[in-house]
Amino acid sequence: MATTKTPDTLRRILDYSSRADPYPLYAELRETPVALQEDGSYVISTYRELTDILHNPHLSSDVRNLSHPVEAFERSGTPSFINLDPPEHDRLRRMAMRHFGPPHTPELVAGLEPDLTATVGSLIDGFAGKEQIDIVDDFAYPFPVTVICHLLGVPREDEPRFHLWVNAIIDSIDYNPKTDPKERLTNGRQATTDLREYLGGLVEQRHGRPGDDLLSRLANDDGPDGRMTDDEIVATANLLLIAGHETTVNLITNGMLTLLRHPQVLQRLGDEPGLVVPLVEELLRYEPPVHIIPWRASYSDITIADTVIPKGSRIMLMLASGSRDPNRFHDPDRFDPDRRDNQHLGFGSGIHLCFGGPLARRETQIALNELVRRLDRPRLVADPPPYRRSPVLRGPIHLHIEQGDG
């Protein structure tokens, strides 16, 4: 029977009071790998069941396949590939990938390295003379924003405008009509419209003006799949702009927090910069930036762990719980950068595996290496730090540290 023994576990996870440490509740959730909720939706929380369903072709990312539409997920405009199924998903992702990675543009991410290092360097230069540093506002937010703006061709000086929109959108991802004020949803909707309008304006300017940024390339390129419509370009840019920094900010901040909580690892990383590579993988398992895929739909009946999930059901995927599953990872609650066989779910799995994963990895590897190299005896001011509201994209809203003799 799939009904969970502890029906309010999910509610407690989503509640803000659990944000600093949801992991014990994930353990409770895993007692029922596929848990039917009172509203008829299903929550999947164990590693094997998560990887199974992420490779199951009957799992749909198209909101139209939910039999009971959820207001917060309703489409506003052309969806991006994250909310589409094959073959449309594959086509649009392939067209976007032409300008971001292999096989067409394999050198892009590796070639960004000097830029990434320079950006990180100048942000850390800015710490000079400060007694207290906020790792979020002073570093982990501006760094990936600068990078994604540069890649997309979005003017960096417009950041204050789209920062507000993006915040409102993130805030509405997990809108719950029972508990949340209606404005959260309407603000998110308005922000989506505003952001799309803004991006649409940028796309319009790009037509007939070939350039190196992604918007110019998408607007002017005719590849084997043809050209994206302007609406598709806007939807893609919207996705990459949001995902490009709202997730990496958490990964970098969670990384610094975790290092400060594990001083021996921090020390080791200083002596052994190459450790950052497996360390970032362990972070993606232990403190991932994306905890939950809030919804997917069963396109037809899906049998998983002896439970039949009926066609049209809403399915919630607890990725961060799966990466802490003791049936898959030895001693899962230990942060172990030497961990072997670390096949975490930090970037998901299957056809929707994070589009920008390689960039996020390089950004975080360079950021942590440089922070550790240049900070002088960094210390946490508050533990736990204050968290952002979202249980989906989970991370501190500020991470204040002191360094030196301050």
């Binding site: 096989p103 590796a110 190459g274 590579v277 096949q343 595996l353 990895r361």
Partner: protein, 75 residues
């Protein structure tokens, strides 16, 4: 350095081809071709690629010193 990729595990995520483009190349959309003996100068890139593989299909030589086989005496 020596590497081998278990291509029956590989699902064509191309993460390696992003991170070490000289050693890992996509042949079409999904098929991976790689250099089993990449230059030592690429070591950092190759280690990043191996760590990033979503299905952990890339094996990097674990030996510093190789257990070099003595050639059999030719009667």
């Amino acid at each position: 350095m020596r590497i081998v990729v278990d291509l029956s595990r590989c699902e064509g995520y191309a993460q390696c081809a992003f991170l070490a483009p000289d050693a890992f190349r996509m042949h079409g959309e999904e098929a991976l071709m790689y250099d089993p003996n990449p230059d030592d100068a690429r070591r950092d890139q190759v280690l990043r690629a191996a760590a990033a593989c979503p299905v952990q299909a890339i094996l990097v030589d674990q030996l510093e010193k190789r257990d070099v086989p003595a050639e059999a005496s030719q009667s």
